[in-house]
Each structure stands twice: as structure tokens, then as C-alpha cells.
Amino acid sequence: MKQETNNEMDLLLRRLGRRDDAAVPEEHLDADELNAYAENAVPAAARARYTLHLAECSRCRSLVAQLSSSAGVVAATDSRAVPEPSGFRKFLASLFTPMVLRYAAPALGLILVAAIGFVVLRRNQPDRFVAQNTETASQQKPVASPAALTDSYADSVTAPSPERLDEERKQKNEPAQPAPPPNMPPSVTSVDAEVSKDKAVAQPKPEEQPASAANEPAPVKTAPAATPEQSPRAAETEAAKNEVRVQSADASQKEKKLRDEEREDRKKDSDNFARARKPADSVSAPATGAARGIQSGGTDLSANTRTVAGRRFRKQGSIWVDTAYDSSKDAVTLSRGSEQYRALVADEPPIKTIADQLEGEIIVVWKGHTYRIR
């Protein structure tokens, strides 16, 4: 019943509205009042006054209606004028958006895992390096005769003789050079190159080596036995040696004799050592990859490892490498006798001790720095 009566009133009011011809007032609300009313920004008393006017004035009413409908748009525009949060706060807020949490967090986790894996692999690189050496040694194993083993042992415990150096150069097809540049960039690849050179030296059969050495013009040696300082210097003074070689053939003959004797002695020593070593080979290998590599190569662990001035060194090819050496770290390359070397040993006398006791090339880690001494 109530709904019906309201419907009747509804129709009556619609009709009234259609014939509303009430006079429009002369005075109208100004734009500021219309807008303030539409935005509900007018104090109560003023609002009542304006409402009274609007109830009578169709013109102002239509304008207010129009403005009210767009007030939402205006409000949305004004909200942009509100000072935005600082960039840092915005950044923090953006980190915790659902989209970021959904996709970026797992991605970050993956990156972390990858980074950790990378670091772990990098740390294991020196071992890998040693393993590479081991692989070479194991490859040699089937063809290596006891003599070869002995020879390799002999090579490892003594500095390479001048003939050996010449032979190496020949095999590498390298011209005789006084010394590598002191500032040669040290890197893993350079060490690898050294190792590969060493491999190349190790590959010829031991029987061939003396023959080839014999065919060589006999170089003159000032001392019969190679001292630790001599091997790098031999390269430096190659030109001078050649001159001496030409001038004193007699001396070279004597030198050859001495060398042959020396080789004989070494051979005897190494034979003895190999015989003594044989039972030890059956003992289980140490856990480290380096030791495994050395053992599989048939070489002596104790002979390839020395401790000097509190540092432990492992022979890798012709290089004594500090066991603490990390191939990922840069090394400073120095030549014995160079100004840099003298300055270093003046500051760090133990390095001189190491360099004196270990012949050939050395990679030593000292106080966090890596030095490659040639």
C-alpha cells in the first residue's frame, strides 16, 4: 500500500516537474560558491543559504549538479598535488609490492644460490689446477718407464740445466730471451701456460733427452752444479754464454764430462729413490687432490713438497707453488736480481730465504700478496 501511494506521488511530482515554470531568480551563485557547494566546502550556515537558492534556481542547480558529478574527477586530480613520499620510501614500498614478492624473491634466491656456487667453484680452482697436472701425469703413466720416472724425479729435485733450457726453448720454438718482462700480468692462464710448457718438456722419452743434449753445442758453465740462482740467470745471460761457448771449446768438453758425471749420480740417486719409494706407492693416497695427483703421477710427495720459512711449497712442473696460492688472485712477477726483487727481499728477508732455497720459478704468498719470482 505504501509503495502504491508513493508511486502515485511519484507520478504527481513528475508531472509537477514538467510544468515547473517558476521564475528564475535574478541573483545567482558565483563560480566560487557553486564550486565550494559542489565540493562540500561551505560552512553549514552558508550551505543552508545556498541550498535555499538552489531549490528555487534551476540554472544554479544544473550547474551544481554538473560540478558535483565532476568533483570526483577534480578530487582525483588534486590527489596528485599531495606531496609524494620520498624516493627512498617509494623504493622501499616498491620492494614489498605483491608482484615483487611473487617473482623477484625466488629470482633473488636463485641468484644467491648461483653466486654461492660460483664462489665455491672459484675456491676449488687451485685444486682443479693441480688435478689437471695430475691428469697429465696419469696420462704419462702407461708410457712412463722407470727411467722416465727417475728422470722426471731428477728434473723435479734439481734446477734445469742450461742444456735443458736450450732444449725447452727449441721445443717451444722460442728465441732465447734474457728474461720475461717483470710486469708480465700474472694470471691463471699464465700459470697454466707454464704447466703446459712443463708438460711439453716431460713428454719426450728420457732416452732421447741425453741424445739431444749431446747433439747440442756444449755450453760453458761456470759452476758444475746448478745453484738456485742460476736457472733464471741462465736465461738472462744466454747471449753471453753463447759467446763463451764459441770461445772455449775445451772448457765445454770438461763441462760435458762433469755434467755426464752429475747425471749419472742423479740417475743412481733416483734409482735408489724409486726402489725405496715402490712399497710406499701401495699405501693409500692422501685425501687431497694435489697429493692424489702427485702420487698418480708416480712422483714423490715429499720430494715435490717443501717447507721453507714457514711456507709450504708444492712443485708443479718447474714451479714451486705456495700451497696457499689462490690462482684467482693477481701475482706480482719479479725477477731475481731486479730492483723490485731487491726491494722486496730488503723488506721481507724470509722471501730471500725462500728464493735462495727453492730454485727455479716460485710462486709465494706473503702477507696476503702473491709474488711470482723467476
Partner: protein, 304 residues
């Protein structure tokens, strides 16, 4: 304005300058006249004894940035003008487009607005007669610009409508004649019935008209917005600042209230019985229904 209020306005102007993100290097002396005008217009005119705290609150709710921008524009600040044009060109164009029939008219209207704002005419004191002087800072500047555009559009439309009379006007006149007792050919009532209906309708119409006038201003505004201006409840509610559901409930209450008022007028002033009043409501409503249907049918035929 007494000294106490002047002090409140002065302090309020200072606070406005302080909270504006860009106060355009204005001083209090530039702000105080505008703030004073707004306080007088919206507060003191209706209630000269407005408490000081209410005045301070009113000032603190004003649009500081917009008012600073407008005052700076009035003072010829080029940067302020550039900001005004840059920020509000889209608003003005949008308002002009919604108030115009086509794009050309909208463009003309928008250009007229900028000319009005800049003040091409000069006042007696030699200053440009810019509409910017009428912005109080109470509402948003964007809303004020929309209102300016809408007012100008209405003025332009009224000028044009004096020359052209639309078909809709003719239809409305026809309906008005029906209400005044000149029935159109809708149904074929007998002469007696027609005469009776005419009197009934006239009494009912007058009683309803009187009842509507007796409503409160807000209720009357709602009735006008909904029945006279054909707004939807949501739109009418927006004007009144209430939700659509509230407007709907209020309208239902008004209808009930109006029915009671009309009945009372018919019984007390016109000598109708309660039963006659009830029957007449039903008959008039039915009759009006028929009238509206015929009107719609006539409109439809014309438009084909």
C-alpha cells in the same frame, strides 16, 4: 571586521604561506585581503559572531597552493601564469568539451575562459578585470575553473536559445497546456468526466505545489533535482553530499510526507473527504500515466 578577527586572519594567512608547497614568494599583505574576503563571504555574512576557533579552522582548510598561484598570477608573475596554463589547460578543455555541442564550440569556449581569466578588460583602478579576483581559495582551483566554464557555457547557450526554439520546448509547452486544462487528444473521456477530471487535477496540482513549497530547503532541492532536473538518485545525492541510498530513503520519506500534506490541504481547505482524496490520487495518477504515454508516443512519431 574587529581587531581580534583581523589578527586571526593575519595569523591564518601566515600559516597558509607556510604550508603552501610553493608560496610564490608572496607575503602576508598579499594573502590577507583574499582570506578576509573568504571569511566574510562564507562565515561572517551568515554569522557575524562566528567563534574565532571556527574562523581559524576555516582558514586552515583553505587551498593554500591554489590561492598563492592565483594571487601570483594576478600580480603578473610569469612563472605562475605558465604553471596555471600548464596545470589547468586540460581541465578547462575538458569542462568546455562537456559543456559544448561540438569540438569547435568547446575550443571557442576554452579560449574565452583564458581571456576572462587573464582580464582583457580593465577595471576602474586600471587593473585588468580578471575573474581570478573571485577565487576565494575555499574550493579547489580546478573545480572553480570548471564552474567558470560551466557558467560561461550557460550564458552562451541562453543567448543562442533566444533565437532558436527547439522541438523539446514545444513539447513541454504542450504538456504545460495539459496541466493548465487544455487536454490533448489522449483517450476519449466524456465531457462531464473531462470537466470533473480537470477540477480534480487542478485542486490536486495546487495542493501538491503548495506542499512542495512547504518542504525544507534540502528536501525541496532533492525533489527538484530528481523530478524537475531529471537527475538520477546518485547524482542528486552527490549534490547534497549524501550517498545514493540515503537520497533514496529521503525521497521515499518526502513522498509520504507530501501525500499527507496534500491530503490535509484537500480535506481542510477544499472540503474533500478522506475517501475522495484517496480515490482521486489513484485516478489522477492513472490519468497522468496515460498522458505521459501519449506524450511519449507523440514524441516517438515526430522523431521518425
Amino acid at each position: 571586521m574587529n581587531t581580534g578577527i583581523a589578527q586571526i586572519v593575519n595569523d591564518g594567512a601566515g600559516r597558509m604561506l607556510a604550508r603552501a608547497s610553493d608560496n610564490r614568494s608572496l607575503g602576508r599583505e598579499a594573502m590577507v585581503p583574499r582570506v578576509t574576503a573568504a571569511v566574510e563571504k562564507y562565515l561572517l555574512k551568515d554569522n557575524p559572531g562566528t567563534p574565532h576557533a571556527e574562523i581559524a579552522k576555516f582558514i586552515d582548510e583553505m587551498q593554500a597552493d591554489d590561492l598563492c598561484l592565483i594571487i601570483a598570477c594576478e600580480r603578473g608573475d610569469e612563472r605562475a601564469w605558465n604553471d596555471l596554463v600548464e596545470r589547468f589547460t586540460a581541465t578547462v578543455r575538458s569542462a568546455a568539451r562537456s559543456a559544448s555541442k561540438n569540438e569547435d564550440a568547446a575550443e571557442d569556449l576554452a579560449q574565452s575562459i583564458w581571456a576572462e581569466l587573464y582580464g582583457l578588460r580593465t577595471r576602474k583602478d586600471g587593473m585588468p578585470a580578471s575573474k581570478l579576483a573571485y577565487y576565494s581559495g575555499r574550493g579547489s582551483l580546478a573545480g572553480w575553473l570548471r564552474a567558470v566554464v560551466a557558467q560561461l557555457a550557460v550564458d552562451v547557450f541562453r543567448k543562442q536559445s533566444r533565437l532558436v526554439q527547439t522541438e523539446e520546448d514545444t513539447d513541454l509547452e504542450r504538456l504545460a497546456r495539459v496541466a493548465e486544462g487544455q487536454p490533448i487528444v489522449a483517450g476519449i473521456p466524456s465531457p462531464e468526466e473531462s470537466l470533473s477530471n480537470r477540477f480534480t487535477q487542478t485542486d490536486m496540482q495546487q495542493a501538491l505545489n503548495q506542499s512542495v513549497q512547504e518542504l525544507s530547503a534540502e528536501d525541496r532541492l532533492l525533489v527538484k533535482l530528481y523530478y524537475f532536473d531529471d537527475l538520477r538518485l546518485r547524482e542528486a545525492g552527490a549534490v547534497l553530499g549524501v550517498h545514493e541510498a540515503t537520497a533514496s530513503r529521503r525521497l521515499a520519506r518526502i513522498q509520504t510526507d507530501l501525500r499527507k500534506r496534500v491530503t490535509k490541504i484537500l480535506v481542510d481547505e477544499r472540503g474533500w473527504t478522506q475517501a475522495e482524496t484517496e480515490r482521486s490520487f489513484a485516478e489522477v495518477a492513472q490519468h497522468l500515466d496515460t498522458d505521459l504515454e501519449s506524450l511519449l508516443a507523440t514524441k516517438g512519431t515526430k522523431s521518425v
